[in-house]
Symmetry: C2
Subunit: 215 residues, 2 copies
């Protein structure tokens, strides 16, 4: 399976490394084909790793992880190219955190819209699946870091795409409990959990936690 | 201890009943002293139960539970009277759900403000403590309905008031795990969890669930 990872930050690198470890080929996409972080990542990883523009990575991949910041997601998708993502699955991990007004961050979009929906509107022929955005990146790819049962949420319009992404989350990352919230508008709920996440991080002084829905 | 409960709906009635069961005196407050629901509640409960206007209830009580809808909270507090709530603890359970644009509800206030903060600004000499708003009313007063550990969040500017409310939540309602998120601005986080709560309710077809933070 050929994956693209949009974004060269901690989340993108963590996801990309895990996929490489699992034997997949990954192209890291960024604004420029000569992005230093992306080139350094390729050098550090070696085999199966490559880098390029968002557009290069979109063309290359079967499945795309969007690990950029929510506030630039539209710009990133525009650069990647609507045509290049047609018929593919895009897994959106981004959160629209706005740090420009100081701490704690607010959201650039919420309540009646979400980044997940914005991306799906921009890519009507791509299956956008929102998931992984409610926990820290180390837990994303290694849920057993935490003791006991804890949950992941998944949102998307296409049932088959959600099933395929759930299988990836289980097989590649080790997730066992994934709650299907419904269509892509349910991204509002998981993106709007971030203001609580940020305060829990403040209270615990650690990002080593996750949500579990007790029933 | 004399309690006031603002609101005659399911949440108000559930909280009021539990306090009465535990031997406390409760005045249920509403817009009018002749509110039929409040009068019916008093009749059904008998001893220790009374009803009156928001202002009557505010004057009467040592501690107030605000169980009205978030969208009318300001109006309710205005009717209760700033002076009548001076020096008292107000436990705010309300959520600013807006059903006017159809389902699922959005929030009337969020992101850079919250009902908890609005009430605290309106009542600078009252200790506003936000809690209980992230779970359904049956679980609020009987957390052991759910198996296993699950959590309550608490927000407020006054540490002593949060401690006193935590003691009430533990002693009267049975809560064992209460996470202090910080000052009243952290109400944004717990109120903004509602869009996820609503979608979980949709997915499970039951309100019999709660959040647990796994660490």
């Amino acid at each position: 399976m050929k994956y693209a990872v949009f974004g060269t930050g901690m989340v993108g690198t963590t996801i990309a490394n895990k996929l490489i470890q699992n034997g997949h080929s990954v192209m890291m996409g960024s604004r420029s084909a000569t992005n230093e972080k992306a080139l350094a990542w390729v050098k550090s990883v070696g085999n199966n790793a490559s880098s390029g523009t968002f557009s290069d990575a979109a063309k290359y991949a079967d499945i795309v992880f969007n690990c950029t910041k929510g506030e630039v997601a539209m710009e990133v998708i525009g650069a990647a190219g609507v045509e290049n993502l047609k018929g593919k699955i895009l897994i959106d991990i981004s959160n629209p955190l706005d740090f420009s007004k100081g701490m704690p961050p607010s959201l650039t979009v919420c309540n009646t819209d979400s980044v997940g929906e914005q991306i799906q509107r921009m890519l009507p022929e791509t299956q956008v699946v929102k998931t992984l955005n409610t926990t820290s990146c180390l837990i994303m790819v290694n849920p057993s870091l935490l003791q006991g049962v804890h949950d992941l949420f998944i949102s998307g319009n296409d049932a088959a795409a959600k099933e395929r992404v759930s299988a990836i989350l289980t097989k590649e990352f080790g997730w066992t409990t994934i709650i299907d919230l419904g269509d892509i508008t349910t991204s509002r709920g998981t993106e709007m959990i971030l203001p609580l996440w940020v305060r829990l991080y403040g209270a615990f002084k650690s990002s080593n936690f996750n949500f579990h829905i007790v029933r």
